[in-house]
């Protein structure tokens, strides 16, 4: 599997990871090597195999419908990079 420069830029944009031109080539080479490894998957006949998402055939349990969470906003916002008046601060997104 070969990846072009445009593929790397697209993946980086989707993943919201800035990649400069200098490291892009190294990233490209290493991702291609990893994709070479996982391309071995193509050799497997999986026709009758059901996709497996959980290690055991168990139903996800339902909790009783009662309130257990309590307000911890202040504790959570104390560790935020920028918060004010109970709100998380981010760069302006609308004019």
């Amino acid at each position: 599997m070969s990846l072009g420069e445009a593929d790397i830029r697209r993946l980086a944009r989707l993943a919201r990871i800035g990649i400069d031109a200098e490291t892009a080539r190294d990233v490209q080479a290493k991702l291609e090597a990893i994709l070479g490894l996982i391309d071995e998957l193509k050799a497997i006949d999986t026709t009758d195999a059901e996709p497996m998402a959980h290690t055991q055939d168990v139903m996800l349990p339902l909790r009783d419908d009662i309130v257990t969470a309590h307000d911890e906003r202040a504790a959570f916002q104390r560790i935020a990079p920028a918060a004010q008046d109970g709100l998380y601060l981010v760069p302006k997104v609308i004019e």
Binding site: G36, I38, T46, A82
Partner: protein
């Protein structure tokens, strides 16, 4: 004192206090840091306070089997009031608002938390070299890796700093460093120990577990860690089991009579170092002497476990690590033009190269047009691997083989070659894909003096059986008691 049992005996007979044990551990940790770098954070004051509380519990004689025992947590478990970094710049100053469930359970058992151990960044690695806080070094040879990703916990136990530590195992991250560091490491059945408060890497594979010098120590740790937790939707409600039950009993002549050990041809082929293969062969001979019989089995789909794993784990990681956006917690870039630029700079600065690679691979295999060919295909192949093991456990009770193809490799040897690094996990990832328990126990040394691990795998919920096999083996061998030169063990 090497083991939890020895420390427990000394505490019970008042030969030593928990505060004294904690002082010793703290001193050893400080002395060892320049050489092996096993810890990221050490908190002396909280350790001494916990030790005082443990001494009080011991005086009341209602204390748990782990009361007063110094331990360490892998720095991927959240701890209130002690920072949790995941070995990443992204979380270098992160102090979680609450304890992980495993941490809370071990606190309630009056263990004494000495500190948080070094690890591959976000648990992604097999050598503990990708940490923002520097590589962990192997106590047996400081020029070599301690294994990963829980390398700090493994090195801490191997060097005799603490008798036990927690770890997480997503593709071998407990068993592989246990093997490379010469100690015992247990990955339980998926769902037995809660993932609540564990910083997620690959949620369908992440499994909390334990390191200790011996199988008995792992059993005591599992007793405290296992249990249903409604806050983890994949946590299983199971009757409580005493995993240490019977391990104290005297050993009959043939304690493993009736046990069938499966030997998969796939684990004994090319690519296994000859010294590793010989040590495992010798261990199997010991197990036969103890009464076990060995049967040849086949796991034909297991050879696809590396490609399957390196689709599923990065896919889940790319989703889980989307939360690190510089808004709610963790690192935020200082300068940025707008919101998207803030995300991209924050994540470029906060994550190391391997974490970025895995996020990008995960993004790729989940992206439009590739989902069926990679992610869905891998999930189907995962089913074939699980079916192999289900069939195998009709023929045998446990499966044995080497934990790793080679002993510890030199620091830097594979750091720039992700594919070579990934192939370290060749014998360990299948147990994560199936969710079945597995452990590593020391079974010998290379001529260079590097430890070798024997992997024992079992069916779902077979922890007690695995621990019993390892324990019986440890009764007739002393590999698990060997200590590296200049260590305090």
């Amino acid at each position: 004192m090497r083991t939890i049992a020895e420390m427990r005996h000394a505490l019970a007979t008042r030969a030593i206090s928990s505060v004294e044990l904690a002082e010793q551990a703290l001193t050893r940790v400080t002395q060892s840091q320049p050489a092996i770098n096993a810890f990221i954070t050490v908190d002396r004051d909280s350790a001494i306070a916990a030790a005082r509380a443990a001494d009080a519990a011991l005086a009341r004689e209602d204390a748990s089997a782990l009361a007063g025992i110094p331990i360490a947590h892998k720095d991927v478990f959240m701890t209130a009031a002690m920072r949790t970094t995941c070995g990443s710049r992204m979380l270098a100053n992160f102090v979680a608002p609450y304890d992980a469930q495993v941490v809370a359970r071990l606190r309630e058992a009056h263990t004494v938390l000495v500190g948080k151990t070094n690890m591959d960044e976000f648990a992604m690695g097999s050598s503990s070299e990708t940490s923002h806080f520097g590589a962990v070094r192997n106590p047996w040879d400081a020029g070599r890796v301690a294994g990963g990703s829980s390398g700090g916990s493994a090195a801490a136990v191997a060097a005799g700093l603490v008798p036990a530590a927690t770890g997480t195992d997503t593709g071998g991250s407990i068993r592989q460093p246990a093997a490379l560091s010469g100690i015992c490491g247990l990955k339980p059945t998926y769902g037995l120990c809660s993932r609540y408060g564990l910083v997620a890497f690959a949620s369908s594979l992440d499994t909390p577990g334990a390191f200790a010098r011996d199988a008995h120590g792992c059993a005591l740790m599992l007793n405290a860690m296992a249990g249903h937790d409604p806050r983890d939707s994949t946590s299983l409600a199971r009757p409580a089991v005493d995993y240490a039950h019977g391990l104290d009993a005297s050993t009959p002549a043939r304690p493993l009579a009736g046990l069938r050990i499966g030997l998969p041809g796939e684990y004994f082929g090319d690519g296994v170092d000859t010294h590793v293969a010989q040590a495992v062969t010798d261990a199997l001979a010991e197990l036969r002497k103890l009464g076990a019989e060995t049967v040849d089995i086949a796991l034909p789909a297991v050879r696809y476990s590396i490609p399957v794993y390196y689709v599923i784990a990065p896919a889940e990681a790319s989703s889980n690590l989307a939360r690190f956006d510089g808004v709610r917690y963790g690192h935020r870039a200082e300068r940025y033009a707008d919101l998207v630029d803030m995300y991209e700079k924050t994540r470029a600065e906060g994550f190391g190269a391997e974490v970025k690679r895995r996020i990008l691979i995960g993004t790729y295999v989940l992206s439009h047009g590739y989902y069926d060919a990679y992610y869905l295909k891998a999930q189907r192949a995962r089913r074939l691997i699980a079916n192999d093991f289900i069939r195998a456990y009709a023929q045998c009770d446990v499966i044995a083989g080497p934990t790793t193809p080679t002993a510890a490799f030199p620091i830097g040897a594979k750091a720039d070659d992700p594919v070579q690094m990934y192939l370290n996990d060749i014998f360990t990832v299948a147990a994560n894909l199936t969710g079945m328990p597995a452990m590593s126990t020391p079974c010998g040394f290379t001529p260079d003096g590097l430890p070798i691990g024997l992997q024992l795998q079992g069916n779902h919920f077979a922890e007690a059986q695995l621990l019993n096999v390892a324990h019986r083996y440890q009764q007739v061998t002393d590999w698990h008691l060997r200590a590296p030169p200049r260590s305090n063990a």
